[in-house]
């Protein structure tokens, strides 16, 4: 693996994280926000696997195990999030997060 270092993967994870963060901050569509969260979780997973790959023998698979847990939680989060989005859509006929303010009094 000549030439490839840990920093390559960390910077790639950083870029994906920032794009996901921008997506979460700027979107008004609730599904768009969920897509941004998926990007953020993928960025975190890249870091986990990269650290585990470059971390030596002691913790060789721990990072991958954590990444699997993250993927599992991402699946649960996506299912619940999309169910909530569909419930909001059934009630309000919109998924614009700035229009769903019936709790704000």
């Amino acid at each position: 693996m000549a030439g490839l270092t840990l920093n390559h993967f960390l910077v790639l994870g950083l870029i994906l994280f920032l794009l996901g963060g921008y997506c979460v901050l700027a979107r008004r569509n609730a599904i768009g926000i969920l897509l941004g969260i998926e990007l953020i979780l993928n960025a975190a997973n890249i870091n986990y696997v990269a650290f585990s790959f470059y971390g030596g023998q002691a913790a060789k698979y721990d990072g991958q195990v954590f990444a699997i847990f993250v993927i599992m939680l991402a699946a649960a989060e996506a299912v619940i999030g999309l169910a909530i989005v569909l419930a909001i859509y059934q009630n309000l006929r919109t998924i614009d997060v700035s229009a769903t303010e019936s709790l704000s009094g």
């Binding site: 030439g3 950083l14 700027a26 890249i46 023998q57 699997i68 993927i71 989060e77 909530i84 614009d96």
Partner: protein
């Protein structure tokens, strides 16, 4: 030289797709561009010697989460007016926040002296991951099944149509 070229190709695929996801004004384009980002990340896993994670990423993310997401897009948007379906507000504050956070993190990445072992050759990982799940990680593994069950029931309860007599 080969791994470096592969890395840059996969990184380009992931970053361009993620940028389309983040900046597209059409939610359908965003959802489909996420496919490229997830596939790029899956390739990065292969580069890092994580063969099991690669297949998990393809199965669960692309085969599961992405399909569910596209289902939700189709169910909630009138396909006719998708062109204004993904408006962005507060672009400037979001860009500033992301830029500042990115600058700080980039500085931290570049100036940290990471522990950097020479990576061994990539070997099959499934045996050791299974070993870890039934060894030191058995409790989180069991709790994970509870979380998934709760998510399953919760999704059904939240999204069902109530029938009032």
């Amino acid at each position: 030289m080969g791994p470096l070229i592969t890395f840059y190709a996969l990184a380009l695929l992931a970053i361009v797709s993620a940028a389309i996801t983040a900046f597209s004004r059409n939610i359908v384009h965003s959802a489909f561009a996420l496919f490229g980002a997830l596939a790029g990340v899956a390739g990065i896993y292969v580069l890092l010697g994580a063969d099991f994670l690669f297949i998990i990423q393809i199965f669960i993310y692309i085969g599961g989460i992405l399909v569910v997401t596209i289902f939700a897009v189709m169910l909630t948007q009138g396909i006719a007016d998708v062109n204004v379906s993904n408006r962005a507000v507060g672009v400037l504050p979001a860009l500033v926040t992301a830029g500042v956070a990115g600058g700080v993190m980039f500085y931290a990445i570049i100036h940290s002296s990471w522990y950097h072992a020479r990576p061994g050759s990539a070997t099959p990982t499934t045996y050791w991951i299974g070993d870890a799940f039934l060894g030191p990680y058995v409790l989180p593994f069991e709790v994970a099944s509870l979380v998934l069950l709760a998510a399953l029931i919760g999704a059904i309860v939240i999204s069902r149509q109530e029938v009032r007599e």
